[in-house]
Symmetry: D2
Subunit: 436 residues, 4 copies
């Protein structure tokens, strides 16, 4: 495979909102400053290697539909390297400076773990070269869900030998992430959960998962990896119940086992909605718990009960997402990884570009709107005013834990029936929508 992978696609440029060119940015202008920071530094976009280069279009009822021209139908080392080159050309043309991968996405599994690790090393060496000093690895991770050995879990498998195998795999994945200058390392426990409580010892499995995470923290320190360890919550699918159900559940796990200072969370919007939350809620929950580390940018379908991993195209939702990011002071060393896939029926090479451009533009538009909301100030004022009774001396006493029930009762009797003003929700919604 000589020359370009995407010969018909130019370097994608910013052409502004009036452009009708699908292969241009209408809102994302990488170098433009918003609220004192370049757009690209707010966003820190990353392409997910698995969806973009290993996504086949298969679904539970359908065979693969993607037949990219650089593929030959095999999972050989040679093709693995070719795909990697396609990835770096894609990043360059799209103007995205980060990528993410699972170990098994980029290199084929061998007959033994030794052979698998050797395959991985060979591909990683090429990745190091292709990264050069322009491209960074946002995060790496280990694929602990596809292989049948992990069908009952990896760290939570009832089989000790699987636990050991998973540990060996994560060890290696952490090493190559470190070698490639990865900024974070992610744990998504797709099989860490149960299909039925009837055959499961949930307590023992959770204990095993905690031991595994402790060992990961220890190994991170040992090899001097400075990136952030991230847990990615998801409520279910493939399991009936996944132990990292949502942000609060993951936080409880981390607190229970004394791991709270060692991890942050990678929040995915589609996982949020599957858990019965808005994406905004999960981001805020993570932020308030000091755990907002990275965002897997995608969206689901409100009428669908499984992970659709669509590119986020809703400007209102993107604005709420960016509000949380701004409140968090940005995401660095985390970023926005596009954990989103082309629809099964989108089979043109240029669909890969169109989908990413639309996703980047939507979030960029969200950033512009969030900045407008802050500059306008009226929504912020509305919220601040609602809580102003606590911005008093007695309010401060309550917030400092100095008001006991007897004192509070005394005040309540003194004050009589409280006056309760309107919550002004419709006004807040009007202000929000007007800014879009």
């Amino acid at each position: 495979w000589d020359g370009e992978f995407f010969p018909g696609i130019p370097k994608i440029k910013y052409e502004g909102p009036s452009s009708k060119n699908p292969l241009s940015f209408k809102w994302y202008n990488a170098e433009e400053e918003i609220l004192g920071k370049k757009m690209k530094d707010w966003m820190r976009f990353s392409v997910a290697f698995w969806h973009t280069f290993r996504g086949t279009g298969a679904d539970p009822f359908g065979a693969p539909t993607k037949l990219w021209p650089w593929e030959d139908g095999t999972n050989s080392l040679a093709i693995a390297k070719r795909r990697l080159r396609a990835n770096f050309e894609f990043l360059e043309k799209l103007g995205v400076e980060r990528w993410c991968f699972h170990d098994r996405d980029i290199a084929p599994e061998g007959k033994t773990l030794e052979e698998t690790n050797a395959n991985l090393d060979e591909v990683v060496a090429l990745a190091k070269k292709l990264q050069g000093n322009k491209i960074r690895l946002l995060w790496g991770t280990a694929q602990l869900f596809l292989h049948p050995r992990y069908m009952h879990g990896a760290a939570t498998s009832p089989e000790l030998s699987v636990y050991a195998y998973a540990a060996a795999q994560v060890k290696k994945a952490m090493e190559v992430t470190h070698y490639l200058g990865g900024e974070n390392y992610v744990f998504w426990g797709g099989r860490e959960g149960y299909q039925s409580l009837l055959n499961t010892d949930m307590e023992r499995e959770l204990d095993h998962m905690a031991r595994f995470m402790e060992a990961a923290v220890a190994y991170k320190k040992k090899i001097g990896f400075k990136g952030i360890l991230l847990i990615e919550p998801k409520p279910q699918e493939p399991t009936k119940h996944q132990y990292d159900w949502d942000a609060a559940t993951s936080a409880n796990f981390l607190r229970k086992y004394g791991l709270i200072g060692d991890f942050k969370l990678n929040i995915e919007c589609n996982h949020a909605t599957l858990a019965g939350h808005s994406c905004h809620h999960e981001l805020e929950t993570a932020r308030i718990n000091g755990l907002l580390g990275n965002i897997d940018a995608n969206t689901g379908d409100p009428q669908i009960g499984w992970d659709t991993d669509q590119f986020l195209m809703d400007v209102a939702e993107a604005t709420l997402v960016m509000q949380s990011v701004i409140k968090n002071g940005g995401l660095a060393p985390g970023g926005f990884n596009f954990d989103a896939k082309l629809r099964r029926e989108s089979t043109d090479v240029d669909d890969l570009f169109i989908a990413h451009i639309a996703g980047m533009d939507t979030l960029a538009r969200g950033l512009r709107n969030a900045a407008k909301l802050i500059e306008d100030g009226s929504l912020n004022d509305l919220v601040k005013k609602r809580y102003s009774s606590f911005d008093t001396e007695f309010g401060a006493a309550i917030e400092a834990g100095k008001a006991d029930f007897e004192l509070l009762e005394k005040k309540a009797l003194e004050w009589g029936e409280p006056k309760v003003p309107s919550g002004k929700q419709e006004l807040a919604e009007m202000i929000f929508q007007s800014t879009l």
Copy 2:
């Protein structure tokens, strides 16, 4: 109102499974021993005063349908006392030895908090007398959701004066619970949450809720109340998001604010399913976190997205519930409170008995089945065998946190590809169903 409230209803007796008499127990035999304990001591049933004596049959589209003969359409003190007597006759005929109430269920609100407290004291004095030494108060609680003053929350209201009012109300409710010998005290934060994040400072609200709970713990100690403080998780309704979403979210809150040793949870089955969990899952999550304190026994409808609070009539679900209770060593000082209401369209006085009898029988049948499962042993063996690879020296080392990634990798390389046996889920389901 002289004489009996339920003149046509006899004392309900155990007649065994072959009885066709709706006003008899077919499975619940209070004094019979199961697994070394009387059925009544496993169950510790309680009638929820609000559903049974204050439930009107109203719904969001419909006016009240219940016109119990002892009511006169008012909420006077006199009627409050009459209702209370009806409650104790109901308990006696049903053979239930515990009850639960909200402060505002049993006594009418006055024009001022002082007057309201005086009303409460008057009714509580009667309750004390009627309890005698046969009936116990399983728990009391404060109704912090019905009155408009609480529309934005109680402990999480943006209005400081509402926070103080709520504190005064909880203080009093704790006092009367203590006075009545209450075994527990419950917090259900029906308004502690948000309708929209746009007008909400979630972080500040959660901090306020923590301060409130700390003050409750301090007050409990001050008055010498020895009962358990229970938080009742519910994901939403009436709010879009309730801060005590589910067991794990509540546990995270308790851990974050250092309250984990001071509270347990009151798990409600219908709240579990609204949060996307099976009831069994929530019970096990509470148990594993050392937090299973009480059960609000009811069930929802799997096709309905709001709290239906139906009497649990599903034997399979009841068996799973009782499995958790047995693993927990029982619930005492907690119990099973029937947080369940007659359907709007069930308007006969005897429907009140039929519903409770069916609910008690279903849980009693669940207990009998759970005992059978334990005696049979084959399901337990299946589970134990699945984890047996960890019942080894190396397994113990892992569980003790002594196996680091390097050691585990060494073992993984040594052992090669793991053998992974069948999960036997269908066999587990077959065994389970056969016992029902």
Copy 3:
């Protein structure tokens, strides 16, 4: 009550998108022409009397919160008339020319049906006067769900006397709708369904409902009412299953009983999402079946499983709604009824205006966007091109039912493996979002 009901509120004017005045329109400009028709003729907005003037803010866990200054806490005839005057002042200031009501919203129920009808007549006479020649009644309907007599259904009640009572009530409601020049008449069968199949004869109930609808059609003809009869689908709430579940279910009912030509549908967005559909889907299903008659404009919350009846504030959704309306050639004699209510916590009189203004603006913005999409043409072209293989002679033969399996097999063998192009979903989404 003399003088104005809303003294602080001016007549709401169009001030354009840059206005920051909450009491102005930013997108709705009644007289402006879009696609050859005035905005007000596209929209035909209507205020729902029940939500706006009878909404109390109560919810299943909370008492009323709205204490409008013109109310005195009673449901007297005098207050009924005062409310009606408030309604017409509200319409005038808002610039909305239509309203909708249930019989029992506008006039109190008396001790007998005769007295109730007399009350209704008295209020309706005032309404006729207040309507003058500026305000129209978009539709009337009978409230067949609030009163306990309807707890098992109205047309589907197992009680024959309830069926008769409901018929008498609908008869009268049709008469007053006709008298007030109503453009449509609506059936929402909130209790026409079941809570449990165990105690229900669904087949017999559906037959009764059909008989009832036939009688309504006959009576419409008898009194010379020319308006459209509309069925409003809703899947559930208050019942577990409502017989008019969604558009397709309602269409099946109408077809099965030979009523298809006599009714259209009133589609409500929040009901659509409760049924598992997008609002756009329900509108298109109604339209394709020739049944799109009216829209109950509101929205739900994608994370909430009950009817929240929020004002629609989502511009993307509003654009899809208006696309269907444009394809339908407008809605006349139907329109957009705001079947939406203030949040319980919104308790200022001006919240009533803010909510309606935001709702009207959002739909107006949707209309502007839908017009832009049509003028731009590229989305339409994309769709047309996808089906172009059927715009051929053989395609026409298939569509005319002239291609049997043998002919089709012959062609399939001749043509070999089909070429299947990309579905271009992300491109379609990009075009759509760019227009917003």
Copy 4:
């Protein structure tokens, strides 16, 4: 592959409820008469070839886990025949006399349609022989969803050549079904729907689907196939919206296009729950519309939003299912096809038997319970009594359509306020549960 496929598995026998042998029936006793018919004639069980012999255990996040000993990892004709022999041995040992298949399950696709048809003929000839006169084909169907050519639909593909290809495939599948003595022929339109309305002309697609179904009806007549044509509703998955959403939606389609007399429905329990209905509801809806033809026996998980296709193990649900079947006078020429699959983690050959045995036993137990309910009679009486006011002369007039609104109003005025008795739902539930 010589000799037995399941050497360790004996012919499964009925051993009664006290048996602990997983490889025995505890409730299904094929020749035993219940309500005047043999159990096997009520049930007419069928094994689904695709789940049992082509199910790989793969899921969206996982590779195949099943490595049955008779497979060699290829999809060759030789293996296809071997699998078929395994199927017939399985049927024989299980004591099931029917099977179902998709064309592509039993024979591999060739390079051309001609080659594919030849492969199919070769396998079908073997099937004919193996069926002998003991085994019947419950139904055949065409797999119109797996191959990428069908990614946009088959009968509803925007590509005319795909429509023709699908027609050719269905033609052949109908022929082989007829050749094998099939009792029914099924249409499951897994790709007949849309992923997004933005790029879809729903009206045109539905018209095409109707033309396709008309052609199928014509071809059925042409070849003299006497079996029933069945449509299998499913709301979504793989598409966002499938046109055969549920029973009512399918009935509307059939009525709209004049096909109502030519088709019945194949109701699947898991599809029912995905559509927001209980399985019982869908069965009753089909039955009432005269459309209940066959049942795809399985169940879903109430907390999971995708098709889990589990073996039905819930006795209460099975009892409700059997109630509908009894009311329908049985299902013949339809039956119960086990459209259920082993869990991914169940990988033993004997799990195939255990799962089927448990599913058969559960339905058999449901039949026994449904018969008990009928014999007991009290539930039936409760329902009949509820509607008894219509079992009168005036009730008959209403049901005959002879009571117009004026007559009904006259009666309503005469009768005054209706008396409405209790719905007795809890009593109905108590009776139902007591029978289990």
